[in-house]
């Protein structure tokens, strides 16, 4: 074990120092000396003389999780005798971006050792795991569920890669268990139930926008069988995210929005941002390192990018109060770990920005193929909050940052052409690695009313034809099924690959148009999944004490990491009829019929009679008297 650890370049090292070294800059050097000595977990734990106090020394590979587990075990045994144990961790990662914006990513993870699908054992005791989701999982035999609501588009070229990517609008993909007989029926009911839970219009997901990808979206959790008949994927690019979606999302957290990191989630600030994405990911994961049994993991993530000019007023200074209009006062009491990480990789000597309050804890993690250094604030320790009992992080910029490292993979999409008859969809994928080529899997799901002509599909890299090694195409069926196109393309190094396909726009029936058809119709984002070569070796085994943001995607090999990039959604105008025409037609027809038929009828049936004018009063009186006398009347 020790040798194994030596061999692996240590990718998760918490560099700690005793209280004698106040400035964080020095700790890096000291830590390097220290790590040479530290080898295994047990050494650290039992060797009390290594560091000052037991509280200060926390190595990420140490038995934090084990210690907490035993705590939560005893705690849970005291409160809830059931052996189903759950654990909750929360963290916030703050990454300053090169343009002066700031990226904050919340992750809340609830781990639960239970098996919803075990025969004969009905789960009825919920502690930290929300009951509404637990019931959904067991009723619909869901193996994995990923749902995200996003407002805004992630700008990869300016902001880098996000920790958890998501497309604009709503996205839902679910892996069902292989015991399910009617996957489509379960899918339909599941979308309705989720629309009630999250106050979103997910009930608009039906067979016309659901696809069954054949190679993308492999399960992120445990499992060996991957029969894609049990996978369903749908996006609603038009879905709006607002406070009514955030409210039920916050209610799923064990502490709600009353304690811990969730007090920062005030909708007035969160939605006044360039990018806002909240997601729920449920999957089965390894319970421990030997991976002998499963545990359910519920991750709730919230990614937000605050814009320097709209919320920052142009001054390059960020603080928790400025971002969220709140400060932190305590950690969630139900959490086993509650931490705030600030990315200081670009600031090794503090020349770029100044971070206060200073913290002695530093950490390193390999995430997205790069080794990043973080300042760690542990909220479960009272010293973090200082004398004012409130924790407000402050980042003040001192100098100008240089150019950002270009992200290795980037994709764009746009519609070309003119008029309302035909068009062309162009998807452009950039590989910015100087010498490595890597494969990407492009998945496109186009609604049926854009009729794709696949014989015009071309894939060109560096102005030469690039034949994909795998193509899966499922044509659309009008009003039943959208197009699904999946291709595995090898991207040459330092190149731009362009995929073009022509389409024709269909005319919908007039009842199928939305109330505002001139706005256009949305086409969901393309998904580009890739194994990008990593700059540093990735860590292949999962441990429980890794920070949450680096342990989301399972890693199979060290030299590459998996990334998913979403392109922009498209907005396409369809030829719209004049909706006042039915009214006009009825008026016109009725007029023509009335005038035409009416005149004809009159001509045929009208007879003319001579009408005598009525006699004056005197004559009428005279006639009356004459009638009484029996004498012939006057004319």
């Amino acid at each position: 074990m020790a040798a194994h650890r030596c061999g692996l370049s240590l990718v998760c090292i918490l560099i700690f120092s005793s209280l004698a070294h106040p400035s964080s800059c020095d700790t890096l050097e000291k830590a390097n000396d220290n790590t040479a000595e530290k080898r295994s977990i047990s050494e650290v734990n039992t060797d009390g003389s290594v560091a000052g106090e037991a509280l200060n020394e926390r190595q990420w590979q140490s038995t934090d999780a084990e210690v907490d587990r035993s705590d939560s075990t005893t705690h849970s045994e005291a409160l809830t005798p059931a052996a189903a144990r759950d654990e909750f961790q929360e963290e916030l990662v703050i990454r300053p971006l090169h343009s002066g914006d700031i990226y904050a990513s919340f992750q809340f993870r609830t781990l639960w050792d239970t098996d919803f699908l075990q025969e004969g054992q009905k789960v009825s005791h919920y502690r930290l795991f929300p009951k509404s989701l637990g019931q959904v999982l067991s009723k619909f035999s869901v193996r994995e569920l990923h749902i995200s609501f996003t407002q805004g588009f992630w700008r990869t070229m300016q902001w880098g890669q996000p920790f958890i990517p998501s497309p604009p609008g709503a996205e839902l993909w679910v892996w069902f268990h292989d015991t399910v007989s009617d996957v489509d029926g379960n899918w339909k009911e599941l979308t309705n139930v989720l629309s009630g839970i999250f106050c979103a219009s997910l009930n608009f997901i039906d067979l016309t926008n659901t696809v069954q990808p054949s190679a993308s979206f492999k399960p992120l959790g445990l499992g060996n069988a991957t029969d894609h008949r049990f996978l369903r994927y749908a996006t609603l690019p038009r879905e709006i995210v607002c406070t009514e979606n955030l409210t039920p999302w916050k209610k799923l957290l064990p502490c709600g929005s009353k304690a811990g990191l969730a007090v920062l989630m005030k909708s007035e600030k969160l939605f006044h941002s360039s990018f806002h994405s909240q997601a729920v990911h449920i999957r089965p994961i390894c319970q421990d390192e030997q991976c002998s049994s499963k545990a359910w993991e519920l991750r709730q993530t919230l990614n937000v990018v605050f814009d320097l000019h709209t919320s920052g007023q142009g001054k390059k200074e960020w603080s928790l109060f400025k971002m969220f209009s709140r400060t932190l006062t305590e950690a969630c009491p139900l959490a086993s770990s509650s931490k705030v990480y600030v990315d200081i990789t670009d600031n090794p000597e503090g020349e770029l920005f100044e971070l206060s309050p200073a913290t002695p804890l530093l950490g390193q993690a390999v995430v997205l193929g790069d080794r990043r250094t973080y300042s760690v604030y542990d909220l479960s320790r009272a010293e973090t909050f200082g004398q004012l009992r409130s924790f407000n992080l402050l980042l003040r910029w001192k100098g100008d940052s240089g150019d950002m490292l270009r992200p290795l993979l980037h994709a764009e999409r746009y519609v070309a052409g003119f008029g309302l008859q035909t068009g062309e969809i162009h998807t452009v994928i950039y590989n910015n690695h100087p010498y490595r080529a890597f494969p990407v899997l492009l998945m496109d799901s186009v609604p049926w009313y854009l009729q794709l002509y696949i014989h015009t599909l071309t894939v060109t890299s560096k102005s030469r034809d690039n034949k994909p090694s795998y193509i899966h195409y499922q044509p659309a069926k009008d009003r039943h099924r959208p197009h699904l196109l999946e291709m595995l393309i090898q991207l040459p190094p330092h190149s731009m690959t362009e995929v073009t396909v022509q389409f024709e726009r269909a005319l919908l029936k007039w009842t199928e148009y939305t109330p505002d058809p001139n706005h256009g119709f949305y086409v969901g984002s393309s998904v580009v999944s890739a194994l990008v070569p990593s700059m540093v070796a990735m860590r292949t085994n999962f441990t429980q004490d890794q920070p949450l943001f680096s342990s989301f995607v399972p890693v199979k090999e060290e030299s590459s990491y998996f990334v998913r990039v979403y392109t922009e959604p498209l907005l396409v105008n369809l030829p719209t009829p004049d909706f006042s025409m039915p009214y006009n037609v009825i008026c016109l027809t009725c007029t023509v019929v009335a005038v035409g038929y009416g005149s004809f009828y009159n001509l045929l049936t009208r007879t003319f009679q001579v009408d005598e004018p009525s006699p004056p009063l005197s004559k009428r009186l005279a006639n009356l008297i004459r009638r009484m006398r029996g004498v012939p009347l006057l004319t």
Binding site: P81, Q151, C199, T243, S292, P439, S469, D516
Partner: protein, 341 residues
Amino acid sequence: FLEFWFNYRHVANTLSVYRSVKRLGIPDSHIVLMLADDMACNYRNPKPATVFSHKNMELNVYGDDVEVDYRGYEVTVENFLRVLTGRLPPSTPRSKRLLSDDRSNILIYLTGHGGNGFLKFQDSEEISNMELADAFEQMWQKRRYNELLFIIDTCQGASMYERFYSPNLMALASSQVGEDSLSHQPDLAIGVHLMDKYTFYLLEFLEEVHPASQANMNDLFKVCPQSQCVSTPGHRTDLFQRNPGSVLITDFFGSVRKVEITKDTINLTSSLKPLIQRSGSGDMQIESLTYVDQLPVAEIIHQKPKQKDWHPPDGFILGLWTLILLVFFQTYGIKHLKHIF
């Protein structure tokens, strides 16, 4: 969505009533909120996630815990009538249903653009007063309400309650037939009118009502006289069995939960048997569970195409073959059949 920013005031109207009703005690599970346009997170809103009802942004009626049940395209006449009559598809979640019975008092508040006998939905369809009256009759016959209060704030709103014929209905409208309901104040920062006059004064009146208040319906009828509203609010109580003076406002706008305090102790059942055996039990197979490869390139390249289910040939193909066979036997005669078979 984005085109009708000037309908901000309709959303503000609805949210003000929603807020008052929540403040007076009705929980979200008993409220069905339908907002046709998204104003709070609209890109034109200078203060996202807020909807203000007073100028100078004094009162944010959107709040932090709003739950909208029907939004955007879901707000249609059909969905509205289905919610009222209860005829929803079986998979509709509970928060989107009106789960009322014959002892429930229901408050319905509608606002938008309307005319003589109709109310517009989404600028593309209308609900007529006859449809509404019939829906209420259906509700009465299915015993879905005890008493119903109907408030409408549109132009010529009184025309909407003219046709009601079911018992126990009381209705209020912001203007008579032939009159327009007017909006209240514009806010220069947001750029549109924030509220309608009638709802503004209704909100002011409701702010003074608290859960134990004894204000009755006659006070509600006096809200917004012509001097303030310019239009003449109307009301209709002939179908209502009780005297409006004896009906409390909180019968419809609020709810007081009955709380019973007890000093008895209840013993919870003793420890439940553990559901899952921890590792250490002998019968656990050590099958190593693994994560799936996210992009198994080799596997994908050699993936065989999915076997499609066999479908019987289409009608067209069948017809074509029948035609071919018919022509064949016509030309060559039926006696050749035995040579073929």
